[in-house]
Symmetry: C2
Subunit: 233 residues, 2 copies
């Protein structure tokens, strides 16, 4: 409990030097989250290079990274494209997300007693609540990210930290946004938070898996609305 000014990378001026590839990749992720990139959209290397003011090299390296994160699809001699999930793949991603989120939560519950990041999760839940009250979508997104960051940090498992962001949830997040979804998250994250604070790995895992199923239900509902009458072979 030292009184450092919160080393949580909370807006340090600008001493953080990042490579071009880092900047490109994270900016693209932001664009996706902001809806500025949509699934299926093609990404022309020269365009991006000009846009970011970097060489085509850097763009190509960034694409490799984004592909690993499940954000873009690469195929030879074709432009990279923002990944698009068909109905089946949507559920496949959610299957993986259920297992991994469950693992992350149970791991966090087992390590909550000795982690300096539990406060981070509490404040994330608090922010989430405020965001819903103020209907501030951007704040909500930020709080959601903070929640997951805290979840992974508390667990401390570096392999989960590495692989969790590679699950194709980014695409789902970007494609299915609704008030109901926010309400589901608000409620579920609160429960997950409590289970972790209670240091109950079994409950934490169960609630996390149920949360993903709740998301699945809501996604399915939205999906039907949009592609209901057309014959979905």
């Amino acid at each position: 409990m030292e009184h450092k000014p919160e080393t949580t990378d909370r807006e340090i001026s600008m001493p953080v030097i990042t490579s071009s590839v880092d900047k490109i990749a994270s900016t693209m992720m932001e664009y996706l989250e902001a809806g500025r990139l949509v699934p299926g959209q093609r990404l022309i290397e020269t365009e991006l290079a000009a846009q970011f003011g970097v060489g085509r090299n850097a763009i190509r390296e960034a694409m490799q990274r984004l592909a690993a994160r499940g954000v873009v699809d690469l195929s030879r001699h074709r432009s990279a494209a923002i990944r698009k999930l068909d109905h089946a793949e949507l559920h496949e991603v959610l299957d993986v997300a259920g297992a991994m989120t469950g693992l992350a939560a149970s791991t966090a519950a087992r390590h909550a007693h000795s982690s300096p990041f539990t406060g981070e999760m509490t404040s994330a839940v608090q922010l989430l609540k405020e965001a819903v009250e103020c209907q501030d979508d951007e704040l909500f997104s930020k709080a959601r990210r903070q929640f997951y960051r805290a979840l992974l940090l508390i667990g401390g498992n570096r392999e989960i930290q590495r692989l969790f962001p590679a699950i194709g949830m980014h695409i789902i997040y970007s494609q299915f946004r609704s008030t109901r979804m926010q309400m589901i998250r608000l409620a579920d994250y609160g429960l997950i938070h409590d289970a972790i604070y209670a240091r109950d790995p079994v409950a934490a895992e169960a609630i996390s898996r149920r949360h993903v199923e709740n998301i699945r239900g809501e996604v399915g509902r939205i999906y039907k609305q949009f592609s209901a009458p057309s014959s979905t072979a």
Copy 2:
């Protein structure tokens, strides 16, 4: 139900055109498996470029991919290095492997009834047995890869197919080889195979998780042998 001649990519002569990056990445994976690359080893871009007869570009893209697969570590202005797992991270990887292998196996069990790839798994188990009898390590590796390929194909979950190879097991495989390990695999893979054929997802998951724990036990045993007397803080 057409009678195509098994599109299972079973050794088509060589019409498969792959990009430089593909070739580099898969060759590096082979080198790792063969012990020609060892954890901690540094990889100089210009050297590799000369070795592979390609530009530095291609090497850098390949490194990004290998980093995503958990095979190399990248850090700014330092050579890429084959990933090295400390004791804690070893267990962290195994935790993830347990969950994901369990998911993969239960998924496969649920889809075994309609998959054209079940024979692939049976033959992998058969090959495994032969490899142990003949003490042919290379054949064993090949059979192991075939087993996992079949496991993922039967399940059909593309997200698992994408993420499973990104788990840091490659490093563990390369670092801990023993006859006991092979015996564990031979026995466990047989059981997993049977559970999948019995279309029993629960059993398949349980056995898969137990298998990973068996690996953990054996790895721990080997680990101790090598770093027993030194004070492992």
